[in-house]
């Protein structure tokens, strides 16, 4: 690997330039991905040894977690308090809250259990916006085609079809909840382009789309008399009845260290992603609770998962200052015209190519000696903000307040200095297999949001995550609310016994118990484990 240019030297060489030549257009995207994207590195894939997805490829760090032992035992169950609800929602980001709201509107009593506080999630940090095909020049068909293409045609087409057709109604529902969007002088909702797409399809509220969405959904939930929320209550195990169907969950209180059995007619898993597992040592843009708990719980219960070797490394994570490494810089700023520039002052990729391609291109520049090197040895490239502001004076302060707050905190003057960026672990493309009604392969267990898979194939476009969480969140809520009660009323860990036996027979050595709940540096420990 080449060294690249030291940061100070590169900074002095940087010039504002409004006329940089276009990047070379004849780049073979597939070869670029093969050579430089972490997902395509064969070291990042092992075959699972136990469970429904046995023999299928999985990232080694995730495989270790999926095949980990559970610290949960029968004694914890025996000592646990018991509560009942119609629908239990695990997770309180955008998917969990919208699922809870719709389940409650359908008459169900809903309990939301969440590891942190309601709304502490990746949703609240979403900056780019939410996709919905509403522009006169756009069609749901184009949205469908481009979602599939960006995902390398690995998506479940039925799920994508349903999601893109849901888009406009999702926006209307959000407005009815009290969410604001940026509008033009004719009251049309403003739209901008996402990487890997042709039409203006991303709706937004400044660069606070997720914050605005979460503020509103949280209040809607708080106002609803049929919804109860339990903050600081992560689910540490799902429970099953004698038929193996999901019948509830075991919660752990971070505050009292006590366990609670929740008996539920149906369970919606909306627990998000796994960025805080820091796959391949990457920094992450995710909140601290994103530790893949939902995948672990669902897998032990026997739910089928998919695409466990596919992750999104967002191209523009902050690389410097080091204390903020991994913090996301919204793709919206590239939509607005910001360019990526190497140490030679050259553009090297269409900034609005799909995210995986842009990520691979950045890694190619760094590997080829055209990166900018930090004292630690890490490398990045420039995100050329000063030239963008010079071209469109005033736009940063008006459209990107969250970004400006980040610059202030980082001690960077975005009017003068470009930002050093490198890819950051952002999103789990795969997850629990679901159908159009968000049913998993285990009756009684529903999934919505990042924990589920099948929608984004092997690469997601900007704004499809916020659309997914509301589209599928609402559907999960409606379906779970009408799930028929079972005659088998047991709350057992039998599925865990089966799973443990498989682990033992496969001679897997478990050193870390799952679910993780928190990254190791948060110094969390679960009592009795």
């Amino acid at each position: 690997m080449s060294n690249g240019t030291p940061l100070e030297q590169a900074r002095q060489a940087y010039r504002i330039d409004l006329k940089r030549p276009l990047p070379p257009s004849a780049i073979d995207h597939q070869k670029l991905l093969q050579d430089f994207h972490p997902d395509y590195d064969s070291n990042n894939r092992v075959a699972l040894k136990v469970g429904v997805n046995r023999h299928e490829p999985c990232h080694p760090q995730l495989a270790a977690l999926l095949q980990s032992d559970s610290p949960t035992n029968e004694a914890m169950l025996a000592a646990a308090a018991q509560i009942e609800t119609d629908v239990l929602v695990i997770g309180a980001g955008g998917a969990g809250c919208s699922a809870a709201l719709v389940a409650a509107e359908n008459g169900a009593n809903v309990l939301i259990a969440t590891k942190l506080r309601m709304g502490d999630s990746n949703t609240v940090m979403a900056e780019g916006g939410i996709q919905a095909s509403i522009d006169p020049d756009d069609t749901p068909q184009a949205h469908f085609d481009e979602t599939l293409k960006a995902g390398h045609h690995c998506s479940d087409k039925r799920l994508v079809e349903q999601m893109v057709l849901d888009g406009p109604e999702v926006i209307q529902w959000l407005i009815q909840q009290g969410m604001q969007f940026d509008r033009d002088e004719d009251n049309n909702l403003c739209t901008r382009r996402a990487g890997g797409t042709s039409a203006n399809r991303v709706l937004y509220y400044r660069d606070y789309t997720g914050l605005e969405m979460m503020r509103v959904l949280r209040e809607s939930v708080r106002q609803h008399h049929k919804i109860t929320t339990d903050d600081y209550h992560p689910a540490v195990e799902l429970l099953s009845n004698k038929k193996g169907h999901c019948s509830g969950a075991l919660l752990y209180s971070i505050e009292t260290q006590r366990y609670t059995i929740v008996k539920a007619t149906s369970v919606i898993l909306a627990s998000g992603g796994l960025g805080r597992m820091h796959l391949n040592g990457f920094p992450t843009s995710n909140h601290i609770g994103a530790t893949g708990d939902g995948l672990v719980l669902a897998y032990r219960l026997g739910a089928q998962l998919q695409a466990l070797d596919s992750f999104q490394y967002h191209p523009t994570g902050l690389a410097w200052p080091q204390t903020l490494a991994g913090t996301l810089i919204t793709e919206g700023i590239r939509s607005a015209g910001a360019q990526l520039v190497n140490s030679l002052g050259e553009r090297f990729i269409d900034e609005l190519a799909p995210r995986d391609v842009v990520c691979a291109a950045i890694m190619r520049e760094c590997a080829g000696g055209r990166g900018i090197r930090l004292a630690s040895g890490r490398q990045g490239v420039w995100l050329d903000i000063p030239s963008l502001e010079k071209q469109q004076p005033g736009m940063l302060a008006l459209q990107f307040p969250k970004f400006m707050a980040l610059c202030h905190k980082a001690g960077i003057d975005p009017y003068q200095s470009p930002l050093l960026i490198c890819p950051t672990l952002h999103y789990q493309n795969g997850g629990v297999v679901i159908n159009e009604a968000c049913e998993t392969t285990i009756p009684g267990l529903y999934c919505a949001g990042e924990v589920s898979g099948g929608i984004h194939g092997k690469n997601r476009t900007m704004g499809n995550a916020l659309l997914e969480i509301i589209s599928f969140g609402r559907r999960a809520g409606a379906a779970a609310a009408t799930h028929p009660p079972s005659n088998e009323n047991q709350w057992l860990l039998d599925h865990l016994k089966v799973f443990r036996r498989e682990i033992k027979n496969s001679h897997i050595v478990c050193d870390t118990p799952g679910p993780l709940l928190f990254p190791h540096y948060a110094s969390f420990s679960r009592k009795g484990t």
Binding site: G119, Q141, Q180, N187, N188, L189, Q223, I288, T327, K402
Partner: protein, 216 residues
Amino acid sequence: MTNTDTPNSHIETSIEITVNGIRLSVSANHSLIQALWKTGHPNFKSASCLEGVCGSCRIMVKYSNQPEVDMALACQSQVESGMQVVFPQYLEKESPALLNHRYQLQSSVESEQQLKAVFPEAAHCRHCHGCTVACPKGIDVEQGITLANEGKLGAAGELFINCVMCDLCTTSCPENIAPNYVALFARRTTAVNQPTPPNLANRLQALQRGELTIKY
């Protein structure tokens, strides 16, 4: 903070701070959250997004060179030698300021009366500036309450674009007003009363007429 990247910048200097009454030696050039993590100090309840938008890491902080106590977010605050920090508890869900604010979003004709009915205490504002001082986001919270009381809900809500719902303004109000919830009411009412966006309405109608389908 230092903005240099020299070969020696990874060598960390140690500084003394006080957190919830406990003296800690932490490495400089980190946010408070990162510094706590590096010392092995358990911290998982008072941190989430680390980007200053979730409000879970709110702190009261006093720096050695200033007499006043500031409100801030720990993920956005660099550690400084001699800083004293308290992570205040969130209000209980049962606290008076957070109760009795049930409402259905309505049209703007009634919204002014609705505000008075749902948040009657808002009219009791003493203009003590406590809420404004308490805001870690620099929002003129008191002005927002004044505007809301005047029926200017749109303008009131607009002041709270940066609000992360950390509840510090609510905690600080001697009249048990919940300013951030008043502002959120104002913002939501404004949203539902804006004219339907033509581009959205057209698309919804086309979908209803079955004109837009997907071919595989």
